[in-house]
Structure formats: C-alpha cells, structure tokens
Amino acid sequence: MLLDDGRRVPDLPLDPEEIGRCRELAAAVTDPVLAFVERHTTVSIERTVLRLLGMNGAGPGGVPLANLAVDELARRGLLGRGAAWWFGLALREGAAAPADVAARIASLPERAPKVEPSADREIRALVAEETRAAVAELRDRVARRDGLRRELGVGPRPHRYLIVATGNIHDDVAQARAAAQAGADVIAVIRSTAQSLLDYVPEGATTEGFGGTYATQENFRIMRAALDDESRRLGRYLQLTNYSSGLCMPEIAYLAAVERLDMLLNDAMYGILFRDINMRRTLCDQHFSRRICALAGIVINTGEDNYITTADADEAAHTVIASQFVNEAFAHRAGLPDRLVGLGHAFEIDPAREDTIARELAQALLVRTLFPAAPIKYMPPTKHKGGDIFFAHAYDVMADVIGAVTGQGIQLLGMMTEAMHNPLLMDRFVALRAADYVGRAWRSMGGELELRRGGLVEARAAATLHRARLLLEEVAREGLFAAIGKARFGDVARQETGGKGLAGVVERDPDHFNPLLDLLEAR
C-alpha cells in the first residue's frame, strides 16, 4: 500500500465488507452515546467556556476562578442553563474583570433570578459576540503555530515521539531540548500521577510532580516557547503534546489550543477504564474536547495501547481494533478529519512467546491498512519490560523495526529503563540512536517485503478484524455503557453510575446556552 507520505507498506488484503460493517457498527455504538452527550453538559465543559471568555487565573486559595464560578452555579442547580449565560448576566450587570464575574456569580441568590426575554436575548448576543472574538483570537494563535510548522517543516515520518517527565517544568525544558537535538520530533510532557483525578487545572509553572509534570497553561507556554526556540535553531518544527484526559479533558484541550500544542492524548474510554472516571462524564467531556481539537487542528492520540497493558496483547488484539473504530467514529462526530485522528496501538505481545513478530506485524499492518489517512500512533513495549536494559533495548529495537516496515505515523520510542524510572537523558539518547539506525537501515523495506498469501500474518490480521467485528456487534447491541460494564476493553469493568466525577454531569436545560459549542457545531 502506498501511504500519503510516499512510504510503502506491505499489502494486506482484507475483506472490505467486514471493514464497512465495522464502521457501521461503530457509528451505531456512538449514536446513543452522542444522544446522551447532547442532552448534558459537565462542569469541565462549562469551565472551558468561561476560560474562553477570559475567566483564567485563580482566586484566593489557588482555586481557579472558573472552578469557583462553576461550582457555585452547580451548587445552586443553575448550570443547566450554561455558565456562559450567567457570565453574560454578570457582564450585563456591569462586571468588568473575570474575577468580578466570578464574584458576582458566587453572590447570585440561591434561586435563579428571572430575566426578561429581551434581556435574555441581549445576554446571549453579547456573549456570543465575545465568544466569536475569543475564538477568532484562538484561531490566530493556531494559525501562528501552523505558520511556524509550515515555515520550518516537520521531519519525515514516523515522527519520533519522546517523553519528558522530570516533575519540574524547567528540567523538562532542558530534557526536551536535548531530546530534540538528538532527533526527537514530538515532545510529550508526561503529567504528574493522578492529575486525571483533579477536577481543576492547576495554575502556574510547577516544579514538583511525581511521575510527571503538572499540565498547566503556564507549563504549556514555557515548553512551547522553548520548543519554538529550539525549532528555529534546528530548522525543524518540534511538536508538543500533553494529555487531554481525566476530569479536565475539555479545559486542557482549550488551554493546549491557546498555547499552540500540536497533539493531545485524548481517548474516549481511557479515563473510564484506567482512572475510574465515570463514563457519562468522560463521554461528554471527550466529545467537547475533540470539538476543540478539531477547531485548533490538534492531532488527538487515542489510548488503545493501554488496553494491552492490563489485558493480554495476544488475546485482546481485537479489542484494540474495535475501540479504534469507536474512537474514530467519535472523532468524526466531533468534526475531526482523519488527519487529526492519531489512533493508538502498541507492540506489547509477551516476548517470551513464539512468532511474536508475525502477530505484531499483522496488528500494526492491520491498523495501518484500516485507517490509511490517520497518523497512527505506535507505542513501544512497556509491560513486559524488566530491569535488564539490554534486553529491553533489543525489544524496543524490534518495535522500531515493525514501526518502520508498517509505516506508522507517530512512533513513541521505547525506553530501555521503562521498568525503572521516568526516562533519563541518556535513555532517550540511546533510544534515538537506535531508532535513527533502524529508520535508515529499513528505509525502503516496507515496499520491498510482501506477505505470503494466506500465511500467518494475513491469517492473524483477518482473524483479529473478524473478532473486532463480533465485539462491535455486541457493543452495538448492548450499548457501550453495558459493554464497559462487562470488561470488554482492557479487562477492566466499570459501572455507568460508578467512578469519579458523575456529579459533574448536568442535564442541559431546554434553554441551555453554550456559545462555544454553537460555534464548534456550526463549523
């Protein structure tokens, strides 16, 4: 198969009917979810709207103003109308600064004040206008990012994606620059453990994280500035990514857009399965966050790779594919074109087994072939790595090889110290040297190799696709919520009303007002 970027990968004949049916089923899976989403909003969505309208920064005690305001509205049961409306009301009543708006919202009477229809219309018009202006400004920032990217160009695919995770944004910057100089194309700043569970976005530059660095607007800004600088010095545009995941998906997507990030980890199910976040909440948040990504031209990276860290990669291969169809359908419904849908998968089969390359190749090629226009994100082995860094390195190299032969779009580089610590500078350097070599050495092999008709690789790919279809049939029949309840993905079961953050899901009033959503949906 010839890829858009000119690379070739081995042809993998697949049953087009089966593929078509998977897409239909995925659409059927998303329909009822989106119907639910369209009837609800969440605290995080509402905070996002307020942030767009200028309510950034934190109040006394470090609580973000947007949280202060939305919590007050929620407590009073006023959120169903949309925070923007209340923002408009405060503006109309003379509030000047965002802090002032927050204060006014906090001092609203317990029962909602009545307003005249004309005042209502004015409020909506006023805020819609503000929103349009804010979105225009956002688009400007995005255009600047795209300008620099066009000017400098990105490296050839696969883009080498490396993580930094010192916990301290300034150390992260030093590490990111070093990684870029050594050949990284994408820098991912890993978040501090459990930021997913925070129902607010921390403020400011941070220097104390565990297993990662907090995702904050200021940290985004600092890193993007450093990467802009480094991009110019290297003459190659460096991409930046972070996580739009957890309880603040939409807000982080927005802040990332403002700070010109290029990609975001953003999955429809990750938070549910791996962070025990309530599924209603996550599914509302993911939709809104993806609409923002669509607006800002941010590539989303889905998290199917995670399933095979808890489930067995051999047995659960089809769950990855099924989930990708679902993630794709959700993404399309949120207005993301294929080129922004970075579906995730991984090289995670237990290396103690036989013929793992045949199956890894089958899986990687299957994903590549099913989603030809998506910039597939390929994760290296992680789960089966132990402390033997030499073995781990050899194992990573194999993932580099499969990535090269199957034309992956975004290639995470495996770390030989995966089982020990967040990567040190030398770990990344070692990984990049090997990836450079593999990339060079295997350059044209994707176009040189063919698969034996009906052989192990083809048969495995066909079987996986088939099982994915069967799973999708079940999920479409029973509904996504029920399927998750039966541990169909990642071997993890979650209940519809369990998990964290359900309280933050609010039914929209009939007169619900979300001018940002209106704009996003109008695109």
């Binding site: 070093a178 100089q181 459990a194 025990d276 402390g387 089982a419 500078l425």
Partner: protein, 255 residues
Amino acid sequence: MSRAPSEAGVVRPYGDRRDDGAVQLSFVLPLEAGARAREAATAIARQLGLEQVHVAAMERAAEGFTFFVVYARTAAAVDLGALEVPEVTLEHRGFDELNAHALRAVGRRIVVLGACTGADAHAVGIDAIMNMKGFAGDPGLERYPCLDARNLGAQVENVDLARACGAAGADAVLVSQVVTQRDVHRRNARDLVEQLERLGLRGRVIAILGGPRIDHRLALELGYDAGFGPGTRPSDVAAYVVAEVIRRRGTGPGP
C-alpha cells in the same frame, strides 16, 4: 576443576577471570564532548574507586551533554559471611495442603485486603497477586479457600484502606506501590502505617508491601512486616500470610 564458583568467602565482579573486578558504567555529564570531558569522565570513575578506567564511548548527546560508556576494574569485594540478608523465609506447601493447614490451625478464613494506594493507579501488580486469575499460572489469593481476599483496586486512599481494615477485621493488608519517582512510594507507604496506628490497628494487621521497586529490606524500613518485589507469585504471599497469622496466634511454628 570446580564447576560452580564457591558461595562463601569474598566475591568480586567477574569479567573473564576470577576476581578481575570488571564493571560497565554509563552516565551523562553536562559538558561538551572533548578531551576535557573525557578526562572528567575518567575522574568520575576514579572517584568511584575504579581502576584501569577505559572510556569506551564518548558521544555528544545534545548541546552541552555528553554520554559516556566506561569499562573499568574495581577492587570492591564483598565478604559474604558479613552480609546481612533480610529475607522473607517461605515454606511452600501445595495449594490444598496449605488451605487445609490454615483452616485447621486458624479455624476460619483469614481476611486479606489489598489495594494499590494513593494516587498510584497501577492495578496490574496487585491484581496479579489477588485476582482469581493470578500470575504466571499461579492462582491469585481470591482462589484460596482459606483466605477471604478482597481487592479494593487502585487509587485507594490510605485513610479509606485503614478504615476498611478495621471494618473487615482484616488479618493482613496488601499494599502495592508502583510509582516511585522522588520517593512518593515511601511517603505513601509510611502514611498507611500511620493511619493503621492511629486507628489502633497496626498490631492486629500484618502489613505487607509490594511492587517492582520494593524489597523486604525497604518494607521493614517503612514499618511493614514483609516486602515483595518483582516476580512475586501469589503462592509466595499466601504462604507468608498463613504462616505469619498462625505464628501470631501462637498455634503453630512461625515462618
């Protein structure tokens, strides 16, 4: 010719001749590569007491950073006799035998709670120990008739876990810690012990710590009764828990 090197006396690293002291080292220095950086790397190795220092690789890793690979010899030697080796001693029995033995000696099911605590969301390790399915073909604690094993999952707050121990009358609590950056696991593991103490439960509950960067020595240091590291099997934990419960009741030989 003796086949296996002796297990007593003094041992030193072995490259290709007994006691040659060969070690490999790698590190990064915040310096540009060059003669000076090479000298600096050599000096670092010498400060580690290494001899015959050979800087095998010096590569520019980034602006102002150089990666080194060093081979050298050390005179370091360990007197095995003088080594203190804290070790969980396990007497392994067959699955059925252990269950029969435990039920006979204790007269009821032993209550075991497990969780991955704090912000740590890595459930795979504690699941491997506790869930039916188990690990590497070894069934998990939930499968043992002699145990009443309950896996509370991940992201469990210490205070909630301590309370649950009280409520369930737990005999043992299994704590998993996987994220260790900047010693977050130490703080978090110690905190659970404090919570148990605050509730007056520490004496009654066998506290067990586990995870890929945990060992018995560290667990003892953090106030636990035992620690289990990478590759632990559920049957190791079952053997330990049963023996320890029986030992504490004074109804059988301790571990």
